[in-house]
């Protein structure tokens, strides 16, 4: 790791001032992604601003029925919090499908949103990568790309966003609260992460100097019918090849409302709200789910090594929706097909 200067921010103002003072400064939360990337020499901050003392560690239940999760609440705390377990079980399943208990204890809500891709070339400074070094090229296009995107990729980058938690947050239409030099603003989850287009170096739509303060979840009616299905090379402690966050509101066998987001397939959690709306009112059957899967994957394109992800995603979508409809969510400790 390269040397850097270290400051401990006591207030949000301290942290914003430290970021403004040094363009290469980085905020340090749990450190499970940043420290790893610094060891690989991918991140080279001259200054580290430790934000672990900021008062962003509460899960608040708001009067309007929504929940606000502070940016520094650990992934483990969110996953086991009674209000979250009861009202947003999809989020708990997604978090518990990710990383390991040790990592989830250290990883924070804000850090999880901002974790970077696991593209092998991004991690290896001796290879070209437009995300790491804009204009240098993309090692993955025409290279080894088994874990790469099948939707929304560009000619500059085919990386995927690796988070599980974010796939559930996309399905639950969370709101990201940020604060920066220009004040506070709310970013709808679907606008938070971006597609790579001509600027793969930008993972999200945050502006320089902004800090995530919280993630807010509004009331929902999906707690009874949901499933987070994660397919990976081993049954635990591995990133998703394909994952599906499915949530349904079903009455008398008909879909009243639904949410579906895909992980491991694009530069951001993939959600298509138009497709969701189109399928409302249809019977909650395997035929409907298969038609929806085709609709969601209509634009899918493989890169060679990852061609298998297209049929895999199709099957995963159908299976997750069937689990959600039946009210038997995928359990992380028991990965049998039910």
């Amino acid at each position: 790791m390269r040397p850097f200067s270290y400051t401990r921010a006591e207030t949000l103002g301290d942290a914003m001032a430290a970021l403004a003072a040094n363009p290469t400064a980085r905020l340090l939360a749990g450190g499970t992604n940043l420290i790893d990337l610094m060891k690989y020499d991918v991140e080279r901050p001259a200054a580290i601003v430790d934000i672990n003392r900021l008062p962003l560690k509460e899960i608040e239940e708001l009067p309007d029925g929504s929940i606000r999760i502070g940016a520094l609440v650990s992934n483990a705390t969110v996953a086991h919090h009674p209000a979250v377990t009861e009202r947003y079980p999809l989020l708990c399943s997604a978090i518990l499908a990710g990383a390991s208990p040790q990592l989830r204890n250290a990883a924070t809500t804000g850090g999880n949103l901002l974790q970077r891709t696991r593209c092998y070339y991004f991690y290896d400074p001796s290879t070209p990568c437009n995300k790491r070094e804009p204009g240098s090229g993309c090692g993955a296009i025409g290279g080894v790309n088994r874990i790469h995107a099948i939707l929304g990729a560009s000619e500059h980058c085919i990386a995927t966003h690796p988070s599980d938690m974010c796939v559930a947050l996309a399905a639950l239409a969370a709101i990201v609260e940020v604060e920066g030099p220009d004040g506070r603003r709310d970013i709808p989850f679907s606008d938070f992460h971006r597609l790579p287009d001509d600027h793969p170096e930008r993972d999200n739509t945050m502006r320089h100097g902004e800090i995530i303060t919280a993630v807010r979840l509004e009331g929902n009616h999906f707690a009874g019918h949901h499933s987070y299905l994660k397919l990976r090379d081993r049954l635990s402690y591995a990133f998703a090849l394909v994952s599906v966050a499915a949530a349904l509101d079903v009455k008398n066998g008909m879909i009243v409302d639904m949410r579906i987001a895909l992980g491991g397939v694009a530069h951001k959690p993939w959600r298509d709200s138009l497709a969701e709306a189109e399928f409302a009112g249809q019977p909650a059957t395997e035929e409907t789910f298969a038609a929806l899967a085709d609709r969601l994957l209509a634009g899918a394109e493989g890169q060679g090594d990852n061609d298998f992800k297209i049929p895999m995603a199709r099957k995963a979508i159908v299976r997750a929706l069937k689990q959600a409809a039946a009210g038997t969510p995928q359990v992380q400790s028991d990965k049998q097909i039910r």
Partner: protein, 174 residues
Amino acid sequence: MDIATAHAQPKTRVALTINGHRHDLEIHPWVTLLDLLRGPSLQLSGTKKGCDHGQCGACTVLIDGERINSCLKLAVTLDGTNVTTIEGLGTPDDMHPVQKAFVEHDAYQCGYCTPGQVCSAVALLREGHGRSREEIREMMSGNLCRCGAYTNIADAIQDVMDQEVKVGMREAAE
């Protein structure tokens, strides 16, 4: 920055309570908890370095009772916390119940992953989430064992959990 300039950089003060003993240290900010523990000043080499990237769990220690990967934690960020390593759990004459169960169940071969496994299992018992065999395996998945002692590791943890349940029932009955 070259190495000489780096070493001339200011150090940061941290107070850590490690296995019950308070240490007032001055360290460079880029030192991970794992390197600090194993380094010349503390010489607590029970905690192992496997991958140094959060991928194996060999470096697992407890911070205020919670398990984390010490390879991805900068020591300067832990000012004021309690760190427990394998050295703080038990001694050969007075083993922690988890250590005892690991011996009884032959839950290791080379032993390299064992300190991390034991710390992780101690935290798992405290968390109280895993109860079934499947849950234990899932909640211990952050600790890899290259020797493949997984079956015996799960047996050992299951054994301690069952004993705790028995003790709990006996206490409740009394």
